[in-house]
Amino acid sequence: MTAGEVITVTIRRGGEHGAPVPVDFRVPITGDPTVLDLVTAIQRDQAPDLGYRFSCRVGMCGSCAMLVQGRPRWTCRTRVSLVARRGRLDLAPLPGLPVVKDLAVDMAPFFEKWAAAGGGFRPCESGDAVLALVAPESPARRNADAAIECIGCGVCAAACRVAGAEPGYPGPAALNRVWTLVNDVRDADGPRRLAEVAGPGGLFTCHSQGACTACCPKGLDPSRSIAGLKRAAVLAALRGEP
């Protein structure tokens, strides 16, 4: 797609209660727009009440993700010229989450799973007078850093077939967070967290297909994080730990 061409954008429109209907919009291309720019142009010029989300515009908030040509992506950092095919672009809401309207979803279930998996730091009782000394190149820091920069955009969960089929499965983002906390020397529970996610429907539900890693816009590797959790959980079981 280059400036001056007209692209046909198919958007799956509909709310929580209505069956979604594909609607075509024809949009003239100016400059080198992102998918978010295109959706914005459609909303402004053709469909004022088109539901979609965005906030930061630059890949920091993780609210604009949707299915672009069937694949979950951030729309703010995805240029149309790289994903459109034969003058067409297909957009749909992120799967696995309730649709609020059109392209906007309710992300609460994603974060509920995050919380249920224990995806939150637990402070030590020792109080807060001093900070932990952790050398930057130490294994403790490198392990905690490996998966820390997740922004919670939901792309990995949308890409994961297991998460789509198993409602109780925490999903790659939540498990990625738990792995970071297992490796965080400052966390009160650290490795004891393994037992919380190793049960039925938990981390062993993962089939290691790697769709999460393939789709992560941050270049993180949730698949590796889950593999780390599995390995640690197996070792803990061999040692007879709960």
Partner: protein, 570 residues
């Protein structure tokens, strides 16, 4: 209309809102605490977008007093010194809390202690950070703590009015639009925190998230509260200039690029900052932004009307390694930051001004508290990089403590003034039943151009007078324009209209304050009054809305802790 009750209601889910929620719940575990946000919890707003870091005086040889003086000097001596002191004094404890209680894992130095980097305008390296994505670490960790607690969420709920009781004695509640259904929701609360953030998105080039529209300040004005320092709008020198049709335009390329030795060039490829300041590209944000505009107005601009940022002379490999996030962001726009030239333009970044408030978070309206970018006074005429996220998390936490204590003395739930409620609902509904959505984008463009051209980085009395008339026209035109769709459920055009209404009101407040300050301090530069005036006799501006009319006054700054004459003894 849905009616809800909560002991504590928090508007906004940035650093201020989430910290307030955690502190309020800790201080009053039996109380019901609700966080309402116009998007998704923790995702809307700007704390998340913080790149640089968090100023805190914890290094050997540094002191709270030095941090304080840097903040006051940076603020052009018009800060409320008690607020600034509260900021610097609380910062060390808040950073420990972020690390040890919330779980933020800031970067470490070789000794394993907190790594602190250098930031412009500071006498000491005191900016604690997590790479160049500090805000994501802070908000990510805060949000997961909120999710783990018994704190109610009202996501996709847009606040439209702060409602006092019929006697006007205290705040009774807040009227919302549930954006998903389009229904009104009235939430009565015994204490309310205004923490929606500022966000000067009324300027053509701006850095904040696109959903920011000064909603908190607009609601505060309509509730009769005074706003101070509204003329003080900070522009970040290196906003990305990627053309008019993309939302990427205006977003920040971080300050560290210039700190590391990046150059700013004219359209003809010439460095220009050396002529103006010995520090060249490392001068403060206000000086660089002004010089850039002068270069652009002198006709030395790039094809898109900005200037070039060049990093390649530092070695593309080094730039790629040190500024991975920025290089990738530019690459997504098809631009080569490491090896080529990237067009940049100063971009409206932060509002130093806002609601007048006390160090404990209270405001002139009993029951209403405020924190973060909605407030004014902490930063005076100019905010130091790294003091912004400190502000929101520190004053958010303090407000949470204060509200928890307030519940012990406060009366029960009050009933909002029925007339004010009906008026607010009627005003919000009006655009749904008028046509003309196509004109909304045009109106927004014209507002952005007007504020950029006439109320921007270089101001004159004549431009401000022109803008006053033009803003009044835009307001009248908006009142005749509709959302273009009568559907109330998740209708972005309706909310664009409401955003524009707030932006125009707050633009009027900025303009009036800029007319009122006939002198140049910090971010505010009047070409017709270029001198700062007597620092010892400093004043600050205060704007109020009375009916439909904005009024302004100059008020003396009380130098309660340090006076300008004492500065040289440092």
């Amino acid at each position: 209309m849905i009616r809800l009750e909560t002991d504590i209601l928090i508007l906004g889910s940035g650093g201020a809102g989430l910290f307030a929620a955690l502190h309020a719940k800790a201080g009053a575990p039996e109380a019901s605490v609700t966080v309402a946000v116009k998007g998704l919890l923790g995702k809307s707003g700007c704390t998340r977008m913080v790149q640089g870091g968090y100023n805190v005086a914890v290094g050997p040889g540094d002191s709270v007093e030095r941090h304080f003086l840097d903040t006051i000097e940076g603020g052009g001596w018009i800060n409320d010194q008690d607020l600034a002191w509260k900021l610097v004094e609380t910062a060390p404890a808040r950073v420990r809390e972020l690390e040890n209680q919330i779980g933020c894992f800031f970067d470490r130095g070789p000794d394993g202690g907190l790594h602190r980097k250098a930031f412009a305008g500071q006498s000491f390296d005191r900016t604690v950070h997590k790479g160049d994505l500090t805000g994501i670490e802070i908000i990510g960790r805060l949000a997961e703590q909120v999710w783990a607690r018994d704190i109610r969420r009202l996501e996709d709920h847009r606040a439209i009015a702060l409602l006092p009781d019929a006697a006007g004695a205290a705040l009774a509640g807040v009227l919302f639009i549930d954006m998903r259904s389009g229904d009104f929701t009235l939430v009565r609360a015994r204490a309310v925190l205004l923490a929606t953030g500022g966000g000067p998105t009324m300027y053509r080039y701006h850095t904040p998230s696109g959903d920011k529209s000064c909603d908190g300040m607009a609601m505060a004005l309509r509730a009769g509260l005074p706003l101070r320092d509204m003329e003080m709008v900070q522009f970040h020198p290196t906003g990305l200039l990627a053309g008019p049709g993309t939302r990427m335009t205006g977003t920040v390329l971080e300050e560290g690029l210039r700190g590391a030795g990046g150059w700013l060039l004219t359209g003809g490829g010439e460095r220009f900052m050396l002529r103006v300041d010995d520090r060249a590209e490392r001068a403060t944000r206000d000086i660089i932004s002004r010089t850039m505009i002068e270069e652009i107005r002198a006709g030395r601009a790039t094809p898109h009307g900005g200037l070039y940022l060049k990093m390649a002379h530092l070695g593309p490999a080094r730039v790629r390694a040190e500024f991975k996030g920025m290089v990738e962001r530019c690459a997504d726009c098809g631009l080569d930051l490491a090896g080529g030239l990237v067009e940049v333009i100063p971009s409206a970044h932060y509002m130093m001004g806002g609601v007048v408030f006390a160090p404990d978070g209270s405001t002139a309206l009993p029951g209403l508290f405020a924190a973060g970018e909605d407030t004014g006074g902490v930063h005076g005429a100019n905010r130091l990089g790294g003091n912004g996220v400190a502000d929101s998390t520190i004053f958010g936490g303090i407000a949470g403590d204060t509200m928890a204590a307030w519940l012990r003395d406060a009366s029960g739930f009050r009933e909002p003034d029925r007339d004010l409620l009906d008026q607010a609902a009627g005003r919000a509904l009006a655009p749904l039943h008028r046509n003309g959505a196509g004109r909304l984008a045009d109106l927004r463009d014209r507002l952005a151009t007007l504020m950029w051209d006439k109320v921007g980085i270089l101001r004159t009395g004549r431009d401000l007078a022109d803008a006053e008339a033009a803003l009044a026209d835009l307001g009248a035109e908006l009142a005749e324009t509709g959302a273009g769709s009568a559907s109330p459920a998740y209708n972005p055009a309706w909310h664009d209209w409401l955003n524009l209404e707030n932006l125009i009101l707050v633009s009027r407040a900025i303009l009036l304050a800029a007319q009122t300050r006939q002198g140049s301090r910090g971010a505010h530069y009047r070409c017709d009054f270029p001198e700062p005036g007597d620092l010892a006799a400093s004043s600050y501006t205060e704007v109020r809305l009375q009916g439909e009319v904005l009024t302004a006054a100059n008020r003396p700054v009380r130098h309660t802790r340090v006076r300008p004459a004492q500065e040289t003894g440092r």
